[in-house]
Symmetry: D2
Subunit: 296 residues, 4 copies
């Protein structure tokens, strides 16, 4: 899966999970390793107070976006999610080193950090594009806000109600009135995250699709539907319902009755870099406790 | 959905469900209507004993395949399934008139038959390609048999056992050992058929994907996975298990331990023709009892 | 199902859905019908401004509880739910007349109102006891609040988070740490309400059980568990999570980390009265669009 | 869970899984241990050729049924299932020692065998009754056959068809016409076996219920229903469908159209014996990979 990533790497950005002693220890070590190969290292400035950043070059996400050829993320899937959203507009590819357990997106084990980054520098990684969603909130013909989602956009009930009613349209075509706790619109990347606990389908990242997964639908025959990635989805809160829209669980906006959320593939994409031997299915097996092949 | 179907139509093949008085009555009526437009009509020969075929031109599927620009199917989804598989190698598009209730694939109501066929002749239909699967059975390095599936290929337990063990690979990569009643590999068309009762995902026909849906998997975290349509899937019966492979529920072969079923997109496709106003989502709403838009 | 309800009826309480013209028209009609049989009628006082209550005797729930042998509810399942919770402490049985579509609990059609109430007076109804849950909120060893649930107690995430972590115990025995959007604890009555959209099991009212149904559980092998009705369940919010507890979607309390919700069968029960010919399965078929028996 | 099992034990039957070297080695060891406590030991005669039975007293299931106070099963859940069905008519309680991984019913670890059996002899086990189902096959007013099920009775499609149509009744009341691959009727014990892979509900053994779980139902709103354990269920194959009925996956009968399978609680029950510290929920956690409580 993926195509060889052979780009010459002169500058690497490092992003680390905050409040983690392990990450705080690993960052300078990784920085030194990279410099020993003549690579310039930018450390995301927000983590500076937590690491021994003496002699390190600190940088904003924007600077990393314009200077680095690669960003390496140390942490878990949450850290990767945040970094991927921040880097999306710059098109810089990301590689993820998991702090503890293997993640869906942070697929380099902590113990293999230096070996793997060496392989990255010598052109042995592969690059895999992942689609991003863009969500816009419309009220009375005006666009109030918009944001990106790497995993999913969720429209759900607000504080008070127990069920909201949504008019769902795809490419301008009416799909249904959905009475439910909410609706998850997920990328293939997000199909193994929140959408999966709501019984959504797993979509391989190589599929150009978007999954629409209802949350506790009132009509029992409502099922998740996956549609082509070039579709746009409109979700409109009907009658007196209020709700909320969430982007990757990291940003949210309150919705009023009549508000419409338009979701479509973003022109931007995220590129994930994988080490040699990476296997999507091996990652699924590990994360979902599926069977391994029998030993010989 | 779909692109305008503007082909000039000089010859139409008619396929009807057997053992149906309603179809037997409708066929000659439709044939006469078509001839009144100067269109040559071929009636699938197998139904001849059941209709008043006096003066009609009977033909095999092969003849229809080489002579007709369009085949019109009268019946239900089962009749359409059979006809689509038979016509696949000829690339002749099909339109479906349902006999009773609206079908997933027979989307012209019986009462609209003549109006709709008039629209077909005057270029108001749209054409929608649907992918087909090809399944091959391999034993000891030899290909024993192969067949097409428009809905799904199912590998399941044979007569005796209650669970079979299958090694599943995608593009040569190991996915998992599946202990289950079986595995459904479905096209987007088939995603609303048998696979849906096994809790598979609905895939819009515009998505280039294939759904792998386990039947009663022993591991509770096993979930349906959808993969890109250009993947090939290998399902191998392991250890002492025997099983069976089914194509659209219309053809089947017995499998021995060690047999491998390879499933991939067929180079052939089926083209479905839809009348003006056709909506995939309206069809889903109707078939699955989803909500209609509120009346104004 | 149920046992004959032969009690002599001298006083009936009437409860109607608010803001409904149909109910406002039906109430006086039903009151007059009852009086024509010499039955005293108490109309729930809250609805008085909306009906022509001239000459009617108005009463609080408490008065109805001490004076009436039966309460008749006109409205939908929501109205019945509210009335059942209010009447629980008095043990007065309830019969439900649905305003529009047949309800799970309001099983007398509006058009059959007078006939059915006639049958009620003449002893042709059956009585069916339904279990109620009692939920208590405990903080730092103190009981903060408690309430009843006829359908379900839900512990879920509050405003902010996307997932909460709960320690679940049954009869003091540890069950699991649940990371999920929440947990529904439902009665058999509630098993066809909210719990069903969360893929919970249907429990026939004749089963002495309680269903625990996780909402979007993070662990894919988490499944609903039904336990004996005499069990008590403790759900404790762990670590830094805050949440909320809901009783029948009609009352709610905010929860802090460490709060414990104890749920057990209430010593009180609700008695539902059913007209002759009532069938639980017919109600399920109707509400869930299941097949009817073939016509002869 | 369960009540103390204080019966004085003078004779123990031993049942072992066939074709297992580990079991063959453990049996004589366990027999010697029991004899050292003055307990008479009967070894199930079918396993004799595989063990060093020199000096052992061999016995049929019937003899064990009349002589032994307890039967100890060495193997997996399949061995326990078989033994439980065979011992049902004699009412002898069973304890299970798992050979490899912990089982749902064989809850004594192999390494704890001698300690546990010591505890059994000294009255530290608990006894837990489990309900059994009885299934009868009726054709043209005649009872053709009947059998017991400890886990489940399954009515499913036979060799040929892909879906069967069944008329389902409970206590003589029509439930629905089910078009499906089949129907599982499970005990609480069986609710964690085959029924669970078909998305059935987990029923705690303390609940007096029976779960009806459809297999791949054609109607998407069909859901598992649990009913009181004193109900009887009739499943009739309608129209031209043929099928098959399975008892615990160990016995089966072919069904013709019109055949009726009547399922009800058996007057017999199985008593399982558990070692001190046994926990149903701990067993679920272990088998279903649920979370353990956090370590302190």
């Amino acid at each position: 899966m993926g195509i060889p990533f052979k780009k010459s790497i002169r500058c690497v950005g490092l992003v680390g999970k905050y409040q983690s002693a392990d990450v705080a220890a690993a960052l300078p070590q990784l920085a030194a390793f990279l410099r020993s190969y003549g690579v310039r290292v930018l450390i995301e400035e927000g983590i500076a107070p937590q690491v021994d950043a003496h002699g390190e070059e600190l940088a904003s996400y924007e600077t990393m976006g314009s200077e680095a050829e690669v960003v390496v993320v140390l942490g878990g899937d949450g850290t990767m999610l945040y970094a991927a959203r921040r880097m999306a507009e710059f098109g810089v590819p990301l590689a993820g080193i998991n702090q503890g357990r293997l993640g869906f997106m942070t697929d380099i084990a902590r113990k293999d950090m230096l070996t793997a980054v060496g392989e990255l520098l010598t052109g042995h990684f592969t690059a895999e594009p992942r689609l991003l969603l863009n969500g816009e909130i419309w009220r009375d013909g005006e666009r109030l806000a918009s944001s990106l989602a790497f995993n999913e956009v969720v429209v759900n009930k607000g504080d008070l109600g127990r069920m909201i009613e949504m008019r769902v349209e795809v490419n301008g075509e009416f799909v249904y009135l959905l009475r439910a706790d909410g609706m998850i619109v997920a990328t293939p990347t997000g199909s193994t995250a929140y959408a999966l606990s709501a019984d959504g389908p797993i979509l391989h990242p190589g599929i150009a699709g978007i999954a629409m997964v209802p949350l506790c639908p009132h009509t029992l025959s409502n099922r998740p539907i996956s549609i082509g990635a070039d579709s746009h989805i409109d979700i409109t809160l009907v009658s007196t319902h209020i709700g909320r829209v969430h982007f990757d669980g990291q940003e949210r906006f309150d919705l009023l009755a009549g508000d419409r959320v338009r979701i479509a593939r973003s022109p931007q994409a995220v590129t994930l870099l994988h080490p040699p031997g990476y296997s999507y299915y091996a990652m699924l097996r590990s994360k979902l406790h599926w069977s391994e092949p029998p030993k010989h």
